[in-house]
């Protein structure tokens, strides 16, 4: 396939370089070049471009990307940046563009970026969903892992699981893998990372599902800088449409920062002796003042609810004094499945646990949640 390209770049020298790069190519056919975005917006419609390369170092150009998206809904749009910057990259994705590449670039860089960003899924911002719980043993890891699998299957888009339970992350063992790279390396290398070299830090669990593992030893958690972790998550959004984060229990710098970064926080508690409802209430009350909630979507979820009925949900809701978005049943096969490292693969699709999780996942995919 040949890309019909429109190039928007205000730096004349840079523009000349790019024209030289794209010339005499079977893959690219340069339709037009523009030095400013107004001209591009005004004149592009006489061409039939299917690829826009636009300099997003210039904020005005960035702000006009939605217009290209509007006029050419099927065209691909790449932002061109001089330096890698996670914030700009997020803004670019938010406009509906595919993502960013660094200037100067080669033809192969463009093809690689298109490939990578297309695999990510539909254009648009990623969903970042954190799994929080006031106390531990709340079913966070189970819910995050199963939900990630369901979203990957049903959306046919890329899903990242990030194990940010830094001291005692269980996701590698849930999936029976021994990762070579962990969150420690990813955060330490963050200054050198961009979307094109981030992927090797992830372990591919299935077709669309990837895992960034927790550190191998509890004390390595101290090596993970929270701000760098936030940058890793933002970078991850360039490759994955859905980013699910398993948090440590309770309020701590990691869980608070990750919740703040998320658009959705699932707050989990496992029914045991009744006091977990009180703890949930306390967590919900405080999450407001800690700016964890903001304008986010907060879903209080109780698991191991028996019987798992609407009546029971209402009972919990009444005790809690807050809306209970979902309840999950006691699934007795859970322990042996987690033991086998074959989580999810062997849990029947029609089991109530999977059904209820699928409901949440589908809501997230459609955007209703």
């Amino acid at each position: 396939m040949t890309y019909q390209v429109i190039l928007v770049e205000d730096d004349p020298t840079m523009l000349d370089d790019m024209i030289a790069t794209l010339k005499n190519s079977t893959e690219f056919n340069l339709e037009a070049t523009f030095k400013n975005v107004q001209d591009a917006v005004g004149q592009s419609s006489v061409f039939q471009p299917n690829l826009f390369l636009v300099n997003v170092d210039n904020p005005e150009t960035l702000n006009n990307i939605p217009i290209f998206v509007d006029i050419f809904p099927d065209a691909k749009i790449l932002g061109l940046v001089s330096n890698w910057n996670a914030d700009i990259a997020m803004n670019v994705i938010a406009t509906g563009a595919l993502g960013c590449i660094l200037k100067p670039f080669t033809k192969q860089d463009i093809l690689d970026a298109i490939h990578l960003y297309t695999e990510r899924g539909k254009p648009g911002l990623s969903r970042i969903i954190s799994f929080f719980s006031p106390k531990g043993r709340a079913g966070r890891t189970t819910a995050a892992a199963l939900m990630a699998q369901v979203i990957a299957e049903e959306s046919d888009e890329r899903v990242a699981l990030i194990d940010a339970d830094l001291q005692f992350g269980d996701l590698p063992i849930f999936f029976d893998i021994e990762p070579k790279q962990t969150i420690v390396e990813a955060t330490q290398d963050i200054k050198l990372l961009n979307p094109l070299n981030l992927k090797p830090y992830f372990y591919r669990l299935s077709h669309h599902l990837y895992l960034l593992s927790s550190p191998d030893r509890p004390e390595y958690a101290e090596l993970v800088d929270v701000d760098s972790l936030a940058d890793v998550v933002r970078l991850t959004c360039n490759l994955f449409r859905y980013v699910l984060i398993d948090l440590p229990a309770g309020f701590n710098p990691v869980s608070v920062a990750m919740s703040q970064l998320s658009d959705t926080v699932v707050i989990m508690a496992m029914i045991n002796n009744g006091f977990e409802i009180q703890h949930m209430k306390k967590a919900l009350e405080v999450s407001k003042s800690m700016e964890v909630s903001g304008d986010k979507r907060i879903y209080p979820v109780f698991t191991r609810v028996n019987p798992c009925t609407e009546e029971e949900r209402l009972k919990i809701e009444e005790k809690l004094g807050y809306h209970v978005s979902d309840i999950l049943p006691n699934e007795y096969r859970m322990i042996s499945l987690a033991n086998s490292g074959r989580l999810g693969k062997s849990l029947p699709k029609d089991s109530l646990l999977m059904k209820n999780l699928r409901k949440i996942a589908e809501g997230i995919i459609t955007g209703e949640r």
Partner: protein
Amino acid sequence: MAEERSSIIISIFSTTPGIGKTVTAINLSAGLAKEGYKVCLVDLDLQFGDVLNYLKLSSKQSIATAQRAMQIDADSFEVKDFLITYEHEDLTFAVMPPPFYLYDAYQANVARIENIVKQLTYFDFVVLDLNSAFSALNLAMLDISTIINFIGVIDFLPALKNFKIGYDTLIRFNYEESKIRLVENRADSQKLIESHDVERLIGETFYHRLPNDFPAAIKSINQGLPLMFCAPDSKLTKSFWELTGKYTNRKLQTDTQLQGVQTAGIGFFSRILAFLFGKR
């Protein structure tokens, strides 16, 4: 700064949450009190402590109000003003409540809490109910503990991994092996991992095994009573009594007079921690 006399500090620690630390802390405290010792149970699960919940207690004072009082006027600070008493029949022990507000818990100052705990020397035993992380607070508490009661329910692979990693980490942090007591909770429940396999993996034997009795445990929590009152015949109750006896050398002593109280050593490994964690 060795004091003439100090308490035996027993910390109840785990690296998997929700496995019975608080139940153990309460029943151990009750057992020690039953033997006639002066006991203080400190709830150091600062954000979501359960000791007051499980004992049906309420309190205006807490370790947070204690912290504030100490900050304002260290000289007139008296730790006993911030303790409450649990009483049932002839049994009594003191409780240091956790902060009421999450915000206070989040802001807790490790050095000040350490200072508060160190002022509990007039008790024979101080039992610390911790949470399940290698936090600065927990490490400081493990440092000053005489005994670390490292407890786990090893029912599935992640729990086994976290028990082993937790133990290995304690050893790497240079806690003396003799100070760490491995306790398996719900040891006889139906599970896929055998106790002796766990011991083989850890390279250490369990100091004590607590049996599974969910109805008794739940009854105790719901009634706000230690097991000895609400489930006197449960094998779990008996097992807690045995564990208490191990910590008091009940068999070796004819009366319940406490002799030769150990000092709570402050390990040299604080320096290693400072190296590893920098910001302690």
